[in-house]
């Protein structure tokens, strides 16, 4: 009898890229719902704009590079980039700002470096930083978090959509009436004005420990993150590393002088630290790959977030921290190569 021939192993692969990406997208759903609950429907429009442009940009680049677009789009990686970008954006963001970020991330940061697997920088963060630098005034229109006891005006769905499409608010509303500084901004401004942490925290927007809305979104992000850990889509080293890198200096500084240094809880829940730990820094392509290297990479990001928030001029430092550590990845990977079983230690050190 005759048979066909194949190469070993003859065993089904346990996973695929599309499934990993879908897991990431699914894990973001609770956080997305919380985001919409607290900051209104703008997030959905941002997500739609980012998604459409990211996928279109990816399709165009694949076509231009002579690849088959439908294959690579089916890996959902462009959608993950779009989702992470949408989380970074304020709920009121004009579509062209979002589109610029999405296109820069996918076209320049990803495909001009060779596409999925070859990009040095995290596409979502590269796109975010570009629009942060290019359109700084468009990236601070955070609407007030939805809360019973603070009487802010809220935009309707239609008004939000209109803003997303035109960049204009209804005539009766000014930016001041609807937007509020983020807790990180409030903290930074307050500390710059020589206020103490306790005085700053008296502002109702600061919430219980990390800012109204933010602290709960953070919790939902963490739920998704733990689910990814359980599903082994991500491994613990990077989240733990980011946590250590951010919380250890925050703790030390808080203990040294609690009046000028907000505590670790604030640093963790205000801003995008948790999202970064579980979803942004864990992008495998732009992260370190060895076990030890990932811990170092995570700690580096955490520490840079703390440094930028504390001593830099930006309120949050997630995007810069990630991009800076992206640059350090080749060196980290080279210096943290695992010991090959059966090799003597000195042969690991040389070369």
């Amino acid at each position: 009898m005759r048979f066909e021939q194949r190469e070993a192993p003859y065993w089904a692969p346990q996973t695929d890229v599309a499934s990993l990406m879908l897991h990431v997208l699914a894990a973001l759903v609770p956080a997305a719902l919380a985001h919409v609950w607290y900051f209104g429907p703008g997030f959905i429009f941002n997500l739609l704009v980012a998604g459409i442009f990211a996928v279109a940009g990816e399709a165009f680049m694949l076509w231009a590079r002579g690849r088959r677009p439908e294959v690579a789009i089916a890996d959902y990686s462009a959608l993950v980039t779009a989702a992470l970008l949408a989380f970074a954006l304020p709920s009121l963001t004009p579509w062209w700002v979002t589109a610029t970020g999405a296109l820069f991330g996918v076209v320049v940061a990803k495909h001009l470096y060779g596409g999925l697997g070859f990009n040095i920088f995290n596409p979502a963060m590269a796109g975010y930083v570009v629009i942060l630098v290019a359109f700084p005034t468009h990236l601070n229109l955070w609407v007030a978090p939805r809360m019973g006891d603070i009487d802010y005006q809220h935009l309707t769905i239609v008004q939000t959509l209109a803003f997303t499409l035109t960049g204009n608010l209804p005539e009766v509303l000014g930016f001041d009436a609807i937007s509020r500084a983020t807790p990180l901004d409030v903290m930074k401004t307050g500390l710059n004005n020589m206020a103490t942490v306790i005085e700053i925290r008296a502002n109702p927007i600061m919430g219980t420990f990390g800012g109204r809305g933010w602290e709960w979104i953070g919790n939902f992000v963490a739920i998704g993150g733990f689910w990814l850990l359980i599903k082994k889509v991500i491994r613990w080293q990077i989240p733990v590393g980011v946590g250590i890198g951010l919380l250890a200096p925050a703790m030390v500084m808080y203990l040294v002088d609690p009046s000028t240094n907000p505590g670790p809880g604030f640093h963790l829940f205000a801003g995008h630290a948790i999202l970064c730990a579980f979803f942004i820094a864990t992008d495998p392509v732009s992260a370190a790959t060895s076990t030890k290297g990932r811990l170092i990479y995570g700690v580096g990001i955490g520490f840079l977030i703390y440094s930028i928030r504390t001593w830099g001029s930006y309120a949050d430092g997630v995007a810069f921290a990630v991009l800076i550590m992206n640059m350090a990845v080749p060196a980290i990977d080279y210096l943290t190569r695992p010991h090959i079983v059966g090799h003597r230690e000195e042969s690991d050190a040389d070369g």
Binding site: F3, A8, P9, Y10, W11, P13, Q14, R235, T289
Partner: protein
């Protein structure tokens, strides 16, 4: 005195895979009927092929030597039944490189008449060195699949002060269950084989290692050990993780020692033998039967009733599959060995050889899916039992960067296939590494050839220079003697030369 304690080491990575062993272990071992023909490859071990010692037309008996070992790592081949040698020719075989190999074909006469020449007596009265030579004559090779000649492995161990004999009952690859059923049914033979090996090696500690998912084998071995009452043999259970049964992995797991890169377990005081090999040693030394049959698992969804069989070496897969109820439907793949490391072959005319631990017949195989670029998830590195970085290796392999491939340990890859399974981008990593290893070997050969050519070239240059120097010296000597003879003599010589030239011109 306290009992010695032994650390159980830890293996990096590995995978828990669906075992698929129950199908083939429900019934006892079935003896494959005597086939009409036996196909016996002369190369069933890692060393040089054996040299046929029979001619076409010769009558041979069961257990008779038909090919003698050649070279340092040779192993003899014996007839698995009585009959007539009808051909010595190339025949399809299952092996890594090439599809055909020289085989001795025996037409069986159905008598199954045993060769009367083997009588060993009590091995305990033999010197270890003599026992080793005797084991060599039995044609015994490692039955776990590596087919390293057992006697040579033992001899190597003898010269290196080995402490532990490790008997490998860790049959970690899915579907394969031949060692499991052998341990269940022939536990005593294995224990006896262990004692023979210990006498040959003069070691006092033997670990009999079995995975914890084989309770019946453990029970039978425990009973056999109690019966033998030999405290030197210690039964050890290890967790069921693929590929703990790899030789170096087992040493790491059981003795907590790392086999050095490019080295052997004997370098760290261990020698590993498969339980099937131990049983084969018992069969040869105690029962006077050389290695002419083995237990093989016949399984997969392409056979009607998966089962373990004892087949004579040289029985074709076709004949063996008949024992498992024949093919089910129209299977597409025939794999000799397991689903992780086996060899896919195109025909069932291939014979069972000493290495054949499994015949896996599959109606279909999972499609590997489309290959995407590496996303550097690092899952491959997380499961690699040798702690390599497959994601880096595959990169260097595609760039043909020999230096980096060596630096990142390509040659340490055991080709277990774990990285392939976890790769979300479905990159055929192991296949790439096999090719890259071949390429490295080629480059090394090329370098060796270039080096030889360089040496020859330099030797030639030296020779030419040497000759030139000698000629110069001779000339100088002649000149000197002419000068010593004085001006008249020089004039006379010059005149003679001119005369000679004139003559030459006129001619």
């Amino acid at each position: 005195m306290t009992a010695p304690t032994y650390d159980l080491g830890k293996l990096h990575g590995g995978l828990r895979l669906d075992a698929h062993k129950k199908e083939s272990t429900v019934s006892p071992i079935v003896q494959v009927p005597l086939p009409s023909q036996l196909i016996l490859p002369i190369e069933q071990h890692v060393g040089e092929p054996a040299q046929p010692s029979v001619d076409i037309g010769d009558r041979v008996l069961k257990g008779q030597l038909i090919a003698e070992p050649d070279g340092e790592l040779g192993a003899p081949v014996h007839a698995s039944s009585s009959g007539t040698v009808i051909a010595i020719e190339r025949w399809p075989v299952a092996r890594r490189f090439g599809d055909k190999a020289p085989c001795i074909v025996i037409q069986c006469d159905g008598e199954d008449e045993a060769f009367p020449g083997w009588h060993h007596g009590d091995y305990r009265e033999l010197l270890p060195a003599d026992l080793l030579l005797r084991i060599l004559d039995g044609g015994i090779v490692g039955l776990g699949g590596a087919v390293f000649p057992t006697a040579q492995k033992l001899m190597q161990a003898r010269t290196l002060e080995v402490e532990y004999l490790i008997l490998n009952g860790v049959e970690c690859e899915p579907y394969i269950s031949c060692d499991d059923v052998l341990m269940r049914e022939n536990a005593r033979d294995i224990v006896s084989g262990a004692q023979v090996l210990m006498h040959a090696l003069q070691v006092d500690v033997c670990f009999l290692v079995v995975e914890s998912d084989k309770p019946e084998a453990i029970q039978r071995l425990g009973e056999a050990l109690a019966e033998a009452d030999d405290p030197r043999i210690v039964l050890k259970q290890v967790p069921t993780i693929y590929p703990s049964g790899g030789e170096d992995q087992l040493v790491q797991l059981v003795a907590n020692r790392e086999v050095p890169s490019g080295g052997l377990p004997t370098d760290v005081g261990c020698i590993v033998q498969n339980v099937g090999t131990a049983a084969a040693v018992h069969n040869w030394i105690v029962n006077d039967e050389p290695l002419i049959s083995r237990v093989t698992t016949v399984t997969g969804d392409g056979v009607n009733s998966p089962v373990n069989v004892r087949a004579r070496i040289g029985t074709t897969v076709e004949d063996v599959v008949r024992c498992a109820g024949g093919y089910k439907g129209d299977p597409r793949y025939l794999i000799i060995g397991g689903p992780m490391t086996g060899k896919s072959v195109t025909t069932d005319e291939v014979p069972i050889v000493k290495a054949s631990n499994c015949i896996l017949v599959m109606s279909d195989l999972p499609s590997a899916g489309r290959e995407l670029p590496c996303i550097r998830c690092g899952d491959c590195a997380a499961v690699c039992p040798v702690q390599l970085l497959p994601q880096q290796l595959v990169w260097y392999a595609s760039a043909d960067n020999e230096q980096k491939l060596r630096e990142f340990g390509l040659t340490d890859c055991i080709e277990c296939g774990c990285c392939d399974l976890v790769c979300p981008s479905h990159i055929p990593l192991t296949a790439n590494f096999r090719i890259a290893k071949g390429r490295i070997r080629e480059l090394a050969d090329e370098k060796a050839r270039a080096e030889r050519a360089r040496q020859r070239f330099e030797a030639r240059n030296q020779r030419i220079q040497h000759e030139q120097r000698e000629r110069d010296a001779e000339l100088a000597r002649q000149k000197a003697s002419a000068r010593a003879a004085g001006p008249d003599a020089i004039a006379e010589i010059l005149a003679r030369k001119r005369e000679q030239q004139r003559k030459d011109q006129s001619e």
